[in-house]
Symmetry: C2
Subunit: 242 residues, 2 copies
DNA sequence: ACGTCCTTGTGAACGTTCGCACAAAGTGAG
DNA sequence: CTCACTTTGTGCGAACGTTCACAAGGACGT
């Protein structure tokens, strides 16, 4: 049939209505700015210019200003941004003024490292439960919590109002865990297993994949050195440094 | 006087010359395709269409075809792509046909999990050394290797021809470790510490940051639910209760 | 040999992101 | 108050990325 899915008279507005749409690229940088601001705050710095904050965050200053302009006009021309106020505004925009209960599924090496991770709790995130399928792991104490059986997943999610699921199981189990999380209403998932999870569009999935990161780095090394190991590439041509 | 650095008659080509420039976005997806292809290979599938492979990788099929077209014309019209051949071509492009020695600095919870991680070695990556500053950790066996003191960093990098450094130390130590890695010639770094590392432009730094990922997810949840916890959003409104 | 069917590879349109450059807006000295 | 100076907020063009749509190319049956 190949029916044209584009009604001829339709206005091609994608995000009609709310103008609150903050670009994805900006959202991804806000946490970086927030962290830089926290460092400044600890040092007692009262205000910061876009130039200095951008430098601390590792971005272009014009980009930083444009990013912040999406939140509103919180700077003072000729002065800069009030550190405390900006921390509050970014936190509010990211939804960090409230507590987000998180469930971690899979309490292996990685799951335990995540549970122990201090920066986890330091923002508004709280580990609501640690789950595992291995009977030997259930009942263990990890980071001050008792590991529960993964059968309790649905109960835990509903009782604690879990909004975010973290998957740290082996790859073969990840899709099933994902399906169960989605079935009980979790719509945000952070996946550490090396698989592409299939889920409905309304579920937001982010992945962290060490192996992919290394492969990207390897590509660039090879591109730069022509495929030689850098340490060896340098030995062929003695370059000043003897 | 804002001298125009753009000669009027100049063609705005940025990457003139080599057409080998593969877009960053494409490079970031190649490892995903590779993984999907490995799965197909294990099942003995001889060929795959762009539609099927794209579906397995979670991307649009046109995007996949364009990505692969940057490597060359390795498909057969009317048939699809030969799985084995494509695995080889992508591996070669990413530089995975050789072994990349990696050094992991910081052997805490995360560093140990990384060292244990099977998918690490499964591709062309090999842990050349595990380093830590804590005398209590030095000498311990982790993933079949002996943890060495971080003082050996320079020696290990040079002897093993380490091309990639992984930083899994606490945040305050990360910049110093980074500086030392850069000083001995490492130009690709994967950073797990929650800091923005400062390094020369020629050093390629990628970061993995759990906390940032969670904050991005939190933003979208809040945007979707208006700031309520999703589990609570569906419940009754406190109506006239006061 | 030839036509039909299938899938690749890519031109072109569209959307997003980036960064320059500068007007607008505020500070502070005299 | 006025002027010099600093820094924000943003218009705009360029670069980059995505997606549609289809011509080109190859396989395969007849
Ligand atoms: N360890 C790393 O550094 C690292 C890095 C990148 C990716 N990963 C991935 O993260 C995942 C976890 O890695 P790990 O090193 O912790 O592995 P692990 O084997 O140490 O831990 C996996 C845990 O998941 C549990 N599990 C298995 N099936 C389950 C299920 N259906 N429900 C709940 N729990 C279940 C196991 O009992 C085990 O405790 C793996 O997919 C791995 O590939 C790990
Ligand atoms: N654990 C996680 O899940 C997780 C997640 C995200 C980010 N991170 C970050 O990764 C880093 C490591 O986390 P962790 O949980 O393994 O912490 P950890 O405290 O368990 O381990 C840190 C290790 O680094 C060593 N170290 C300290 N200074 C060093 C130096 N100068 N040189 C070499 N080694 C040094 C310490 O002795 C310790 O063994 C931290 O920056 C943390 O914020 C961790």
């Amino acid at each position: 049939m190949t029916s044209s899915n584009r009604p001829a008279g339709e206005v091609p507005r994608v995000r009609a209505g709310r103008d609150r749409g903050i670009p994805d690229a900006t959202v991804a940088r806000l946490p970086v700015y927030l962290r830089a601001l926290m460092t400044l705050s600890e040092r007692g710095t009262p205000t910061v210019s876009s130039e200095d904050l951008a430098s601390a965050a590792g971005v272009n200053s014009a980009k930083l200003r444009k990013d912040l302009s999406h939140l509103g006009s919180y700077g003072t021309r000729g002065v800069g941004y009030d550190v405390q106020y900006l921390i509050y505004q970014i936190s509010r925009e990211l939804g960090l003024t409230q507590d987000w209960p998180v469930v971690i599924v899979g309490t292996g090496n990685l799951g335990r490292a995540l549970a122990d991770y201090g920066g986890f709790v330091s923002r508004g995130f709280r580990v609501a439960a640690l789950l595992d399928a291995d009977p030997a792991k259930v009942g263990q104490q990890v980071a001050g919590m008792t590991v529960q059986h993964v059968d309790k997943l649905e109960a835990v999610v509903q009782e604690s109002g879990v909004a975010i699921g973290v998957i740290a199981t082996p790859a073969p189990a990840a899709q099933e865990v994902c399906d169960r999380l989605v079935a009980v209403g979790v719509r945000s998932i952070l996946n550490f297993a090396p698989v592409v999870l299939q889920a409905p569009d309304e579920v937001r999935i982010r992945k962290v994949d060490l192996s992919i990161e290394l492969q990207i780095l390897a590509f660039h090394i090879q591109r730069a050195t022509g495929g030689q190991l850098p340490a060896l590439a340098g030995e062929q041509e003695p370059e000043g440094a003897t």
